[in-house]
């Protein structure tokens, strides 16, 4: 392509310099080159460029699911900011499958991305050692690994659990159940928050009111229905349920309604995620706002900061505070 540009009688290096607005080129020449570039609608081959510079201007994002709008929102805000700064986001989904995730990581590493952003569904840290060996900087989002001194952006999940559980107590629930999420940090920490608030209020946790995630069926509405079905078979029935996330909560609501219960009168339900449609649901769903947009923004900031310096700066941890969003599904009078 550049030979074609050489019909201006200059060397390809000059063209290259124009493309990078290197100062080393005359005004007149620059304009002639630019004109010709526009004429041919020429664009440099990024593969060749990255081969020599070592930078791809590509940032990878691995999420457990694209359909979950929490991650979709992160992807959106992230992609927006990175793009403004000349970086491109390449998104891939691990479908909540650790093995697929590892495969994805390998693929992305082979492409020599400038940074990797991962919401990992792994429970071990070995994958990250591999990444570190490749000297590719990476940022963890949503799911943290305390053992790892890595960049992390996410929400305070213990606070999430506490906020939700305290809210159920505040509206007068006596028997509070919890539908757990996967055994990654958010699931564990939200559970911890749940336990802690119960303890603070002098109640002890009842094992029967805690439903553990079934393997291989993660955070879907269907699982929410099944979990609620189990909960409703307990005696006495719980009168408040904190669900790990909103899809679970929606499933739970559906099942409760199907069994003829009233929400929130008979049983109050709160989820987490504050998804797009929460307020238009059959029973508008109380939820905990995880600030997905801000997670995306903070991650972008962090990534750009890493990329600015040759030597990656010290790992940074950004923890956002969650926020309660109360709606009809917990709209009960205090001390009813």
């Amino acid at each position: 392509m550049k030979d074609i540009a050489k019909d201006l009688g200059v060397s390809i290096v000059t063209i290259s310099k124009v493309l990078r607005n290197h100062p080393d080129v005359g005004e007149e020449m620059r304009e002639r080159v630019l004109a010709r570039i526009k004429e041919l609608d020429y664009r440099p081959n990024l593969a060749a460029r990255s081969l020599v510079t070592g930078r791809t201007y590509l940032v990878g994002l691995i999420v457990p699911s694209l359909l979950h709008s929490f991650f979709a929102e992160i992807a959106k805000s992230l992609s927006e900011i990175l793009r403004e700064n000349g970086y491109y986001l390449i998104i891939s989904s691990s479908e909540e499958d650790p093995e697929l995730e590892e495969q994805e990581v390998r693929q992305l590493l082979a492409r020599r991305l400038d940074t990797l952003i991962i919401a990992s569904c792994r429970s071990t840290v070995e994958v990250f050692f591999r990444i570190e060996k490749h000297k590719t900087p990476y940022v963890l989002i949503d799911r943290s690994f305390p053992a790892l001194a890595a960049n992390f952006v996410g929400v305070d999940d213990v606070a999430v659990g506490m906020l939700a559980t305290q809210h159920l107590i505040d509206i007068g629930c006596k028997r509070i159940a919890h539908i757990r999420g996967p055994k990654t940090s958010p699931g564990l920490q939200r559970f911890e928050g749940y336990e802690r608030v119960l303890a603070q209020n002098g109640r002890n946790m009842v094992d029967e009111y805690v439903i553990t995630e079934r393997k291989g069926d993660v955070g879907t509405r269907q699982h929410g229905e099944e979990a609620m079905n189990q909960l409703l078979s307990r005696t006495p029935k719980p009168d408040g349920v904190f669900c790990f996330n909103d899809p679970l909560a929606i499933g739970a609501i559906n099942e409760a309604l199907n069994q003829g219960l009233r929400i929130p009168e008979d049983i109050a339900i709160i989820g987490c995620g504050n998804l797009q449609y929460d307020d238009s649901l059959r029973i508008p769903l109380s939820s905990i706002n995880q600030h997905s947009r801000r997670i995306g923004e903070e991650t972008a900031r962090l990534v750009l900061n890493i990329l600015k310096f040759k030597v990656p700066p010290k790992p940074e941890t950004v923890v956002l505070q969650p926020e309660l969003v109360a709606r009809a599904s917990t709209a009960r009078r205090r001390r009813e």
Copy 2:
């Protein structure tokens, strides 16, 4: 990296051959090489490879919005199938902004993707000429350009409009309104289907019952609310509304409920998209299934077919038939 692999005392070409399972290498040698590769956790530099082969094993996808689960589902199924065949999907969002879309196209072209998949928000075809000039194969999805002899995968949008409108007539609606979508093919064709069915049933279209999309605020719930507000100011009020898509319909429902109307008794509403949560909404929403999964699958099939041959095969057009999914928002007795 390969110099390191050359501590086996062989040339880099041999390594390269092993990596591509070229037959030209002995069993013993192959194994020694593979062992060393595993040992070093070595992965070839894809940038260098694609520089010489001209193939990147990268497929680009440009959608108007990642948050819209219709596109998210397409992305998911597409990505899954492509990955199985060794291709990678790089997703980018145009945010329904034609200019941003063009910029994205330029970016992706510069990266020499093997194929481009676009749900375009453009109304002109010039962008595609640019793509053709670059000799990058491309596939249009969801939004077609009749003037263009290009690959296309999507749903029969005239049928969508007809199905929805006919359904409203079937349940006894007399005054059927339409909240239009953007002026791209789905918007235009669904409107055409709406008109056609009205005509077939001997009714004429009433301009007052057709709300046109506001610029810059596309297909959001908020726009649905405003549109419904306008519709309810007409006299007589419409008793059935066909909304371009489900987010609009959800907005419309919210507004109607706010104004004290009953759905579907006073006004029936149908959308399009059959989104994830349609059945858990305050009023479960009747919708038209666009088969987003199958769109993704068909697109993947088409792309793989294009990639299989050096010379791209003839453009292919895949048109799926939509399906009515009736729920509570149109659950009225016939001839009420």
